[in-house]
Amino acid sequence: MNSTILLIQLLNGVQFGVLLFLIAAGLTLVFGVMGFINLAHGVQYMIGAYLTFMYYSWTNHFLAALALGLVTALVLGLLLEELIFRHLYTRDHLDQVLATFGIILFVNELVKVIWGPGTLTLPTPEILSGSIQLTENLKYPVYRLALIAIGLFVALCLYVIVTKTRVGMLIRAGASDSETVNALGVNISRLFMIVFGFGAMLAGLAGALAAPIFTIEPGMGDNLLIVAFVVIIIGGIGSIRGAFIAALLVGVLDTLGRTIATDAMGLIFDASAANQIGPSIASMLIYLFMATILFFKPQGLFPAQGGAR
């Protein structure tokens, strides 16, 4: 363990955090504004990756494929909202969980039918394929840095939209009290449809950006969804700022934890025990973190219903 590895893992952690944020942003608004639990949000992440893969194989151009993928993800998101999700808002959470779980199963199978059950890979775009020398003995892939930059840029855009525009005010207002927003003459369903569509697109963006780093496979979004829920609960449901900060915290904690845990356990236990305990502790870390945060702040770091923004 040296500082170079630590720095690399820190960057990887931030990059993971940025991906988590892109997924969590839509999830926290959808959950916060409409109280709707959408387990199928991870599906949007997967769809983003597959669509970009498909368009890439047609156009052979990463940016074009990404742009087309995003537009299609947005359209699919709006379509799913109109056809399915809209009918679930007034149902209780159990119905929502069951129905959206059904969508996961359906879309995962559909993806297998169209693209096959195997894993696919998307090459890193040409211009971003190199590495740069960060310190004397640390090289880091340009693509991963670009991913961090894109994520931060999207976060900034979202922050401006949510804090400075009228739509943003209504989204925040809707996250704390949608009934009153409605009574004051704002069509909250339409507002929600827009939020839903763009949330789906952002999850798709995360999937598309992750595709060159990870493999594309059916169900690739399902595990991330659980972590995304951890993120929005830590951040405070309905809060974009909370989602951003929590996503970075969880991303870094999870990545560093997996690097350090075994060594750290080695300080207490003998080597073989540490090898067993370390990884288990590492995969528990974010949940322990969530439990700790909730103990002190039961509404999360930035509760939409409470005081801070």
């Binding site: 009153t180 009574a183 004051l184 704002v186």
Partner: protein, 231 residues
């Protein structure tokens, strides 16, 4: 044609019916009250008018059009401004955002005019909704409803839980709004304060109208009204 008219309104939650045929009329520019003890159906009536609760039977007309069971946002757009029970200020929005988010430019209420009407709100404009006192919250809730330029303002518990001085100010402001020609439907327990500017009163008991009349009639019938208000 009345501005607001309820005919035989029945409503409730699930299997428990709260309203059993409520009739009510409110003319343009008129101020009226809904009175009654807690649990007698005042808020349920308001929620039914606002489209927040689907009536089981009866009819609600606003400005000549039926609005029974209409989506709440359509009722709001039609010109009913709600100051909800508990004020329900958006805690994560600043005072100014609470006002600007709901601006609807179809009348003369603008951000400027609301600030002139409630100077206190301008002083607090960068504060979050969660940082306001109860009185400031009520001013903001009224200002927020005014920003939609309503032709009818409904206040569910106009002064509940406020200090006497603030109450007095709210009553003065409501009287001023009425003088400008805005119709107001009020829920409150302070009969004396309301009687200074209110034209008409409706008393609810167990989901039915048990008494209704002008302020003058109310003063003569105080014993009957009191028997329903205090138990």
């Amino acid at each position: 044609m009345s501005l607001l008219e309820l005919k035989g309104l029945e409503a409730g939650y699930g299997y428990s019916q709260i309203l059993f045929g409520v009739d009510l009329k409110l003319e343009r520019g008129e101020a009226a009250t809904l009175m009654g003890r807690n649990g007698m159906g005042k808020t349920t009536t308001v929620r039914s008018i606002m489209g927040l609760l689907k009536p089981q039977a009866g009819e609600i007309r606003f400005d000549g059009h039926p609005i029974t069971g209409l989506a709440a946002y359509k009722v709001g757009r039609a010109g009913v401004g709600l100051v909800p029970e508990g004020r329900r200020i958006f805690p994560t929005l600043t005072v100014e955002e609470n006002l600007r988010a709901f601006a609807r430019s179809r009348g003369n209420w603008t951000l400027r005019k609301v600030y002139d009407f409630f100077p206190r709100l301008e002083e607090r404009k960068v504060n979050l909704g969660s940082q306001l006192s109860g009185g400031e919250q009520q001013m903001l809730a009224i200002g927020r409803a005014l920003m939609t330029n309503p032709s009818l303002l409904i206040l569910d518990e106009a002064t509940e839980g406020l200090a006497p001085l603030i109450r007095k100010e709210i009553w003065e402001k409501l009287a001023a709004l009425k003088a400008e020609g805005l119709a107001i439907l009020l829920i409150d327990k302070d009969i004396a304060a309301m009687s200074k500017f209110v034209d008409h009163h409706t008393l609810l008991n167990k989901g039915e109208v048990v008494w209704s009349g002008t302020t003058e009639a109310l003063t003569n019938d105080m014993e009957v009204v009191n028997s329903y208000m205090h138990l």
